[in-house]
Structure formats: structure tokens, C-alpha cells
Symmetry: C2
Subunit: 361 residues, 2 copies
DNA sequence: CTGTTAGCGCATTCAA
DNA sequence: TTGAATGCGCTAACAG
């Protein structure tokens, strides 16, 4: 624990025999003209001393941190990829991204992270539709820091300028329609209550899809958190009365749940997709490798992060590059209000293809 | 973009009719005696103005950030959980944790994050065995910031005081032995070259396990990155000559790879575990839900993060609580050098239980 | 082209 | 019990 304190700009100036202002100039590659000789001497001094600029001092002085904060519900799957992509994106604009996880929607942890980011005076924030209550968030975020939400619905436009959402409703509508088209006699949605807005969107879309079907169809909304996986499966199987023909279609909150249901089907000798058809969401790597492979929805992470970054960078008064500017305009044109919807595409696999698998022939 | 600048301690002082020193005192020096009246006035002013302390200024003044940095190879699975746990742990000691992902072992990104963390003058660093070269890291980290490594091997003791590692070698040894004991005629290890140290540890342990077997046994080391999943399976099947009796045992770098191999087996009508037995690593949620479920190794995230936190906090000169102190001593006692090894436990499932599954009866 | 100087927001002696 | 003054490391006019 020796830790002699790191060299400062003053040490560098002394070492190079110039003033601190000059050092600052060469560090920040300012426009001001400087003799090559001076630059060389300063740079030498910097490497010789192992100088590293103190960003706290820099930010304090600049009254600008060039730092952005991202709050995620957790680091897994889609969200992790989201974070990495967004980091790359904003780095291209000279911003740094600090990522925090609410460790599974824990409002307390979330609040802590938010508070910390605010105290650090980040220039902007990106957050999922939070676990914290909206008023509580509003109070924290206040009018202050630019905030872009992703996958959050019904945020008042005065606190959130933009919400960049995946069209879970549309996807769910499609899923329901697809299952019905495949001849399912019954369709159910298996959700997770703590999915919050994302869950509600799926429900709304699912119901819409069911409603669009020509004839009346047996359906149900199930909660996996409440019923458990086995409970969901049982409930699903008994919805339409056990005698009717055709498989039961189950559309799940995400691939993880779909996979668990799949395992439960194996356990009970229920054939997929003959007796039960499954559609998940997220298109996780394991969805493809499952047996039978799971039909799911691809997450357009690239597009979503690009849009999020574009909105935030723009709010920060920065100029966007050609591609991002174009992207923004394209989506802005087809958007009403401040909620932007990104369409999703279904990836059809064997869990919805009749006859592709027989567990117990 | 109005953003009137946030209130400072000066504003609060004015509002409360006291000096800034007094404000500072009520905020963080409750030890010094102050009249309750003053405290009340200051606190009122704070809430009235919505004052929030600027940590950059605070840290600059204190010459201490109370912030720790964590660098991960990526956010997925085990690492994500690791981050969340560690965050909780260090929060208990009054530290904040900033997490960064190298986006899949990208040395460039990793360097960027490390540099940023150092510029931010974090009090300590935690990192996986990095993607960056060791010398490059040493130069960066230098003698300066306390650094604890996890799952990193062969780091010189003068730059890394502690390395807290999972015993991948021991687990791999056990895996090989287990497969052999289950009657496998052939055992192979399917790895990922970019797993680096973690991969090498597995290889060493695997070979040791094979070597401990009484008789000579056909085995091989395969690289999934090079051969592809199909290639690995083919190679594995042909290792011992196709005629010999007993299943082929495949021990994989992680569950993801095991699952892909499992899918490939289904594809080709190869029965698991009758013809092929699989053991993965990480005990991901999908390992349990796979069909057949995958034998794997549990990751002791809690224990590992506790130890990492304890080492780092201690290096920072902080006092540990009872439990952590005890934990530290316990492990210190059984450790030689600066590399600490955490034992892992196997979770046996159907992918190694004969007869549990017949894909094509 | 280079140096002087006044902040940035806060913590912390040292006096009062 | 409170306040004035100094410094943390750096940036950004403004002079020279």
C-alpha cells in the first residue's frame, strides 16, 4: 500500500519546463498553435512521469462529464448485449457509458444507482422502464438530466423525451395469430408479473391477436410466477376442455420460460409440437439449441441501441453522423408522440412445426 | 434543454443563512457538535433546493473516490451474477462498483475501460484474467491501484496481490474421472481457445483425470472454435475407433457448448446418454431445463465474490466484518502463494445417466 | 506561441 | 458552535 500520489499536471509542467496551461493545451489537442518542440517535450514528460489525467478534476472544471449512465434490470441475455452495443455506439461520439444492474428489478438498488449517477453528474441517462415508481423517478431525474427510456410505456412526455420500445404488442399479436393459424385449438399466454410494462404489452397484443381470429377461441392469461411452470402447463392443457382437437399453443414471456415448459412437457411425455406448440421471446442462443428448437422473436439490439444513442446524443446537442441522422428521421417520420416502436421478427423453429418431433412415438 | 445548473453547497448555505463549512458539516461530519436548529435549517434548505452533492468535487477534495471498478469479459450468465453479487458486497463497506464488459474479450475495449477507471481514480480494481497481455496490464495498473484478479492464473505476485480462482482444474479432473467411471470408452474435452487461462486449467485437469484412470484410455482435446460443433462431435465419435463398447464422454468448456452438442446429437439421432455422455460447466438455468438435462458444475458465485471483496477491502485498509474476516482466514490458511482456489461441485443430471433418454427408441 | 489567473464544488484546518 | 481561507487537479479566458 505505498501509493505515492500520482503525478499531476503541475509535475508534468515542471518536468517539461513549461506552464501548466501549455500542458493542458497539448493534452487536449487544442486549436491553439504550439511549437512541435514544446509538444514533444510535454509528451515526453508525460510518459516519463506516467502521468494520467484526473477526470474528476477535468469534469469539475469543464462542468461536463462526457459520461452517460445506463440502468438495466439485470445483466443477462438481451440486456447484456444491449449494454455492450450501446457502449460502442456512444463511444463513437466521445462518451463513456457506465452500466448498472438493478439485480432483478430491485427498486432499492435501482434507486441507489440512479442517485449515484446523478451525483456523478452524468450528461445523460438511459434506462429500461424502471422498477421504481414513475413519480419517484421523476422526482429524482427532475428536469435535470436528459433521459431516454427503452422498453418503458406510459411515461409522461415531460419527464421522458423519448421512449424507444420494442413492439412487444405487435409481436405478441403475431404470435397468437401464428399459433391459431397452425391449428391450435387453444392458445394461452404465460407471463411474468414482474415483467411489468413489457408483460402488459404482451398481454394486450396477445389478446388482440386472439380477437382477430374469425371464430371464438379458447384462451387464457397465465402467470408463471404465481402458478409455477407445472401449474402453467396444467392450466394451459385444461383451458379449452380436454377433448377438442388440435394442439395447445403457448406463447411465453421469454425463451427461458418456454424452455422450462418444454422440459416439463418432456417430463410428462407431452409431444411438442404435436400436442403443445411453443413460442418464446428473445431468441437466446439456447432457443436454437433446444430440442425441439424454440420458435422465438429476434431482438433488434443493434437498431434499438442505435436509436437510443441517437436520441440521447442529439439531446446533448451533439451532431449526429450521417447514418444515425438518417435513421432518426426515418423513425421519427413514422412515430406519433414520444414513444417509438421497433418491429420484431419471428424466427420459426421446430417448437411450432407439426411433426418435427416425437418424444414418445 | 433548459438545464439550469444544479444548486451547489453555496446555494444551500445562502438559503439556510449559514456558511458552506456548516453545510458540509451537516452533510458528512455528524461528529462535530452543532446546534439542532442549524441542522434543521440546513436540511430544510437542502430539500427545498433539491441539492445533490457533486461527487466529482467531493472526490477531488477528499483525494479518494470510494469507487471500485470491475472488468468482465462479458455480461452473460455467471459473470453477470458475479457483478451483481460483488456490487452488493462492496456496498456494504461503503464502496460503489462500476462494471465494465470487454464485450467478449476484446483487448481494445478492455484497455479503454481500464484506462478510464484509472483516470477516474478508482480506489481499487477487480478483473478477470484479462484479455490484454500481462505486461500491458502491468504497465497500466503499475504499482498504483490495488488489484484483485479472479479466474486468472500465473499473474506475477508483485502486480497482483491476490487471485481468487475457481478450481477449474479440479472440476475437470473430476469430470474426466466421472465419465470414465460411468463406463465411457473414450473421453474428450471440447474447449474454446479464447477461454484462455480458464481453458488451460480445464485441459490440465482433464488430462490429470484421464491419467489417473487405471488403464489406458482413448482421449482427445478438441477446439470448438476451430472445428465447429459438428466437427467436435464427429471427432469425438471417431477418437477411440468406432467399434469399441461404451459411450463417448464429452466434457465441455461450458454449458452453452454442451447444449449445442446436445442439439447436434439430436440432429443425428445419437442417443444421450447412451451413446454420448455430456458434462458442461456453469450450471446455467438452461442446463437444468435442457432435454436431457445437463450434468454441470455449480458456480460458487457467493463465495467467490465474498472472497474477492474481502481481499480488496482489506487492501484498502478498511476493517472487515466478522464473517468476512473469518472467511478470509479460513481460506488463507489453506492457500500457498497468492493464488486461492475455490472448490467446485458437480451437479449430476440426465446427460450422464444411462438410459434416461432415448431419442429414437 | 506561452504563461497568469480565476474559477469548478466541496472538505478541512484553524480561528473566532 | 460556526465561518473564512486554502487546496484538490484541471480548464479556459485573457494577457503578453
Amino acid at each position: 500500500m505505498k501509493r505515492e500520489k500520482p503525478p499531476t499536471i503541475v509535475d508534468v509542467a515542471a518536468e517539461a519546463g513549461v506552464s501548466i496551461a501549455t500542458v493542458s493545451n497539448v493534452i487536449n489537442r487544442r486549436k491553439v498553435p504550439m511549437s512541435p518542440e514544446t509538444i514533444r517535450r510535454v509528451e515526453e514528460a508525460i510518459t516519463r512521469l506516467g502521468y494520467r489525467r484526473n477526470v474528476m478534476a477535468t469534469n469539475l472544471s469543464r462542468r461536463r462529464s462526457h459520461e452517460l449512465g445506463l440502468i438495466l434490470p439485470h445483466f443477462g441475455g438481451y440486456y447484456g448485449r444491449f449494454a455492450e452495443k450501446l457502449e460502442q455506439k456512444v463511444h463513437g461520439y466521445g462518451y463513456h457509458l457506465s452500466v448498472f444492474s438493478a439485480a432483478g428489478m430491485d427498486p432499492e438498488i435501482e434507486r441507489r444507482h440512479l442517485e449515484h449517477l446523478l451525483q456523478r453528474r452524468v450528461d445523460g441517462l438511459v434506462s429500461h422502464g424502471l422498477a421504481m415508481s414513475i413519480p419517484s423517478t421523476m422526482q429524482l431525474a427532475g428536469e435535470g438530466t436528459p433521459l431516454v427510456i427503452f422498453n418503458g410505456w406510459n411515461w409522461p412526455g415531460d419527464v421522458v423525451k423519448w421512449a424507444v420500445n420494442l413492439d412487444f404488442a405487435g409481436a405478441s399479436r403475431e404470435a397468437a395469430g401464428y399459433l391459431l393459424a397452425r391449428g391450435c385449438r387453444t392458445v394461452v399466454y404465460a407471463g411474468r408479473r414482474h415483467g411489468m410494462g413489457a408483460n402488459e404489452q404482451r398481454i394486450a397484443g396477445f389478446l388482440a391477436g386472439v380477437g382477430e381470429h374469425g371464430t371464438e377461441v379458447a384462451h387464457a392469461l397465465l402467470d408463471a410466477g404465481e402458478l409455477g411452470v407445472a401449474g402453467v402447463l396444467e392450466a394451459a392443457l385444461s383451458v379449452g376442455g380436454s377433448a377438442s382437437a388440435g394442439p395447445v399453443g403457448i406463447y411465453t414471456f421469454n425463451d427461458a420460460l418456454a424452455l422450462e415448459l418444454l422440459a416439463e412437457c418432456h417430463e410428462r411425455g407431452i409431444r411438442v409440437p404435436d400436442e403443445v406448440q411453443l413460442i418464446g421471446m428473445d431468441n437466446e442462443p439456447f432457443a436454437k439449441a433446444a430440442f425441439p428448437s424454440l420458435t422465438s422473436f429476434e431482438m433488434p439490439v443493434d437498431l434499438q441501441t442505435s436509436l437510443v444513442a441517437a436520441f440521447l446524443i442529439k439531446q446533448l446537442g451533439e451532431a449526429l453522423d450521417e447514418a444515425d441522422e438518417a435513421l432518426l428521421e426515418q423513425y421519427l417520420a413514422q412515430t406519433v408522440g414520444h414513444e417509438l416502436l421497433i418491429p420484431m421478427t419471428m424466427v420459426v423453429r421446430n417448437s411450432t412445426q407439426k411433426g418435427a418431433f416425437h418424444s414418445h412415438p
